[in-house]
């Protein structure tokens, strides 16, 4: 027996106006879905081909021992158990954590401060903005080569500037103490433009009347910054921090590869660089895959943690 719902009676007897609204909404939904499919398909195909399938391949490979030349040999979970016994892996993990700790907090704080400063409607601010965003167009490989010259202990700009104030600078990239901070400074410089753009977008969403009301209540600039601006860009801070954790974990790879090759004495060898060296210097593709998956799991854990923080913040 046909239901009253099947023949559309209910829709026809609905309150005036709502039937056509529903149809319009449905049509719009279908149109949106079609547009989304058309726009997303190319990127999803590329993502599947170049990220998902290789990642699954790497997952499969992590159960094999393969030197690139012979045939892969099944080793079960040996690569994963080896991972936790490998002293070099722990050293690389420590270096990665150091990159994150030294890099992420200054990037977020500096990015916020600079975004607040260049958000002002002052004369010449346009030119200043371009200047701050300039590093964004530099490729990280080119920047790494340039900064290597800047850090040169004999003729580099860094030590010349220090020399002007009577300080004798160290051999930055050869020093076990200074190499990692030197690389981190360069990475902060590279990361700042994106962070500033995101914070600028966040700042421009804060309604101006909140500041006007605060001014009337006698709140000074610092008070407004601390009590209005900073809490209102909270979601941006979580997003920026998440992105920068990923950046300092994986982006440290090409920087340390080019500038120090992980040296001196492994002091800048991040987990990503170590897995690359295991793969292509030691030609142990299975173990390198296990290392990469371990890094992926760590990033996933960090992202999950930030998502949780974001949820707690929203519910609070």
């Amino acid at each position: 027996m046909a239901s009253v719902l099947d023949n559309g009676t209910l829709r026809r007897t609905a309150p005036p106006g709502s039937g056509s609204d529903t149809r319009t909404r449905d049509r719009r939904k279908r149109r949106d879905a079609l547009a989304a499919t058309v726009f997303l398909t190319p990127s999803m195909v590329a993502f599947t081909l170049f990220v998902i399938i290789p990642a699954l391949g790497a997952f499969g490979l992590s159960f094999f021992s393969w030197d690139l030349f012979g045939s892969p040999q099944w080793v079960g979970v040996d690569n994963f158990t080896r991972l936790f016994k490998d002293a070099q892996m722990w050293t690389s993990l420590r270096v990665t954590v150091e990159f994150v700790v030294l890099g992420v907090i200054p990037t977020v704080v500096l990015g916020f401060v600079l975004a607040v400063l260049i958000n002002n409607k002052m004369r010449g601010m346009g030119a200043l903005r371009i200047l701050y965003f300039a590093p964004m167009v530099a490729s990280s490989a080119v920047a790494a080569v340039l900064w290597s010259y800047m850090y040169d202990d004999r003729a580099g700009v860094a030590n010349r500037v220090l020399g002007w104030v009577g300080v004798s600078g160290p051999a930055w990239l050869s020093s076990t103490t200074w190499a990692l901070p030197a690389l981190t400074v360069m990475m902060i410089w590279l990361a700042l433009p994106l962070v500033m753009i995101l914070y600028l977008a966040g700042l421009q969403r804060i309604p101006a009347d909140i500041y006007a009301a605060a001014s009337l209540d006698g709140a000074g600039r610092w008070r407004q910054l601390w009590s209005i601006t900073w809490p209102n860009v909270g979601p941006t801070t979580i997003l920026v921090t998440t992105l920068q954790v990923i950046n300092f974990v994986s982006g440290s790879f090409e920087i340390s590869l080019i500038m120090t090759n992980g040296g001196p004495l492994g002091h800048t060898q991040s987990l990503a660089l170590y897995s690359y060296q295991v793969a292509f210097h030691q030609t142990e593709m299975g173990y390198a895959s296990a290392l990469s998956l371990f890094q992926l799991a760590l990033i996933g854990l960090a992202v999950g943690l930030f998502k949780l923080l974001s949820r707690i913040r929203r519910s609070a």
């Binding site: 290789p54 892969p72 290597s148 202990d153 120090t260």
Partner: protein
């Protein structure tokens, strides 16, 4: 669709995709060992791959070859200049059955490429002297670099140039420092350090006396012959062990490390920061013939070359080479051989190669009477290259990943001594253990 069903479906999709990716990978490995064939020479179309920096040069050689043999065609393709990426690219091409017919081989990768079934054994063809190309005409130590450590009776490549280390010196810097004693063929390493330190001191460190012999710790062509001159060894293929921590080697390391901060600048782990001879930053440096055109183009000072200094009367010449190999998977092996036979003939490719100023032919005849010796100065003392090519000690490459372990362990030991003030014996003792461990795994 319920959430559970959705999850189940995505899990099974992931499993299918993962298995498919893995099967594709494994089957690709299986296919890769497909053998090649002789093919015909006339009317052949072959491919030749060399590192990107050498492509313009090889295009000229190929143009000359095609002009001499119009019905034979060669396409020149490029390989990455970076050592790691170069091997990676060849492995990828092998997995995809896309290897070129003729490929550039490099001494440090020769074992890996041979063990990976990439390069063809041409020992029989060389013995036979097919098309006039004979193994006996090559300098044995350079040809020996292409004998795989696992099968020393095979030859999987032919060297293109006898690149042996030679002492380059900048006469203008000597003059600026007021040092009149120029390098002589009888110099010892102590003479080298004494004069280097004098230059560095008299110029107030504006010029380096000497490019650090060990560089950042990666100058194998320098440390191998020095260790040998002290009676030690880096790798003994008979015992399959490294001796870089043995007393004789420790003496050699001590001598090599002495240069930092005296004749050469202090240690730097950043190779970009090392003084460059071609930019007139150092009075002396060890280099090879291949760099001569660059020095001529960029260095405006007066400069020349001298044979390497000696230790207890023993030469300390090292070197290396890149070579040309035929791919084992090539279906045009005879056509590839025909090109090589033309390339190594004195009137063929070798004539053009010598004219670039970069190449000392790796044959006895080429070293003594090659056209390269008639090229305009600088350098004037071309005989130094010839003498060093004959004296060159080219050590056997270590098998598999042990070669890379040696490189990394030596750099680490040098840094431990220079940056952490660890004793030479202890640092290189640990390095020896690491290399022997890698050799054990390579077995």
């Amino acid at each position: 669709m319920t959430r559970t069903a959705g999850r189940r479906r995505s899990r099974s999709w992931a499993a299918v995709a993962g298995t498919a990716a893995l099967l594709a990978l494994v089957s690709a490995c299986g296919n890769s060992s497909s053998g090649g064939g002789a093919g015909s020479v006339e009317g052949s179309k072959i491919t030749l791959s060399v590192q990107a920096g050498l492509v313009p040069q090889f295009k000229k050689y190929v143009a000359a070859y095609e002009a001499a043999y119009p019905n034979r065609k060669i396409t020149v393709e490029s390989l990455p200049d970076d050592a790691t990426q170069y091997v990676q690219q060849l492995v990828t091409e092998r997995l995809g059955n896309k290897l070129p017919d003729v490929l550039m081989n490099v001494d440090y990768a020769a074992n890996q490429l041979a063990d990976g079934n990439i390069t063809l054994d041409v020992a029989d063809r060389l013995k036979e002297g097919k098309l006039g190309l004979k193994g006996s005409s090559f300098l044995p130590q350079f040809l020996g670099q292409y004998r795989p450590v696992s099968h020393p009776e095979e030859i999987t490549g032919l060297p293109v140039s006898a690149d042996s280390t030679t002492l380059f010196y900048n006469k203008t810097i000597f003059q600026k420092a007021g040092v009149t004693e120029l390098p002589k063929a009888t110099w010892t390493w102590d003479d080298l350090y004494r004069v280097g330190a004098e230059i560095q001191q008299k110029t107030g460190g504006r010029y380096a006396g000497l490019f650090p012999p060990l560089g950042i710790g990666d100058q194998a062509a320098v440390y191998n012959p020095v260790i040998r001159a002290y009676g030690g060894f880096v790798y003994d293929p008979k015992t399959k062990k490294s001796g870089i921590g043995e007393p004789a080697a420790v003496k050699a390391w001590t001598q090599l490390l002495k240069a930092y901060g005296t004749a050469a600048p202090k240690y730097s782990a950043n190779s970009a920061g090392l003084p460059k001879f071609e930019q007139g930053q150092t009075a002396m440096a060890f280099s090879v013939r291949a760099t001569v055109p660059t020095q001529k183009e960029t260095l405006k000072d007066d400069w020349d070359v001298q044979t390497m200094p000696k230790i207890d009367g023993n030469p300390t010449v090292g070197g290396g080479s890149y070579g040309l190999s035929i791919s084992r998977a090539s279906n045009h092996q005879d056509a590839a051989w025909a090109f090589l036979a033309w390339f190594y003939s004195q009137d063929g490719g070798m004539k053009l190669a010598q004219a670039t100023g970069q190449v000392v032919p790796p044959t006895l005849e080429g070293v003594d009477n090659g056209a390269w010796r008639q090229l305009p100065a600088p350098p004037q003392n071309e005989a130094a290259f010839a003498q060093d090519a004959k004296d060159a000690y080219l050590p056997p490459a270590l098998p598999g990943a042990a070669q890379k372990a040696l490189t990394d362990s030596v750099i680490k030991a040098v840094q431990q001594v220079e940056l952490q003030h660890k004793s030479v014996a202890s640092a290189f003792g640990d390095a020896e253990k690491a290399v022997n461990q890698a050799l054990q795994s390579a077995k």
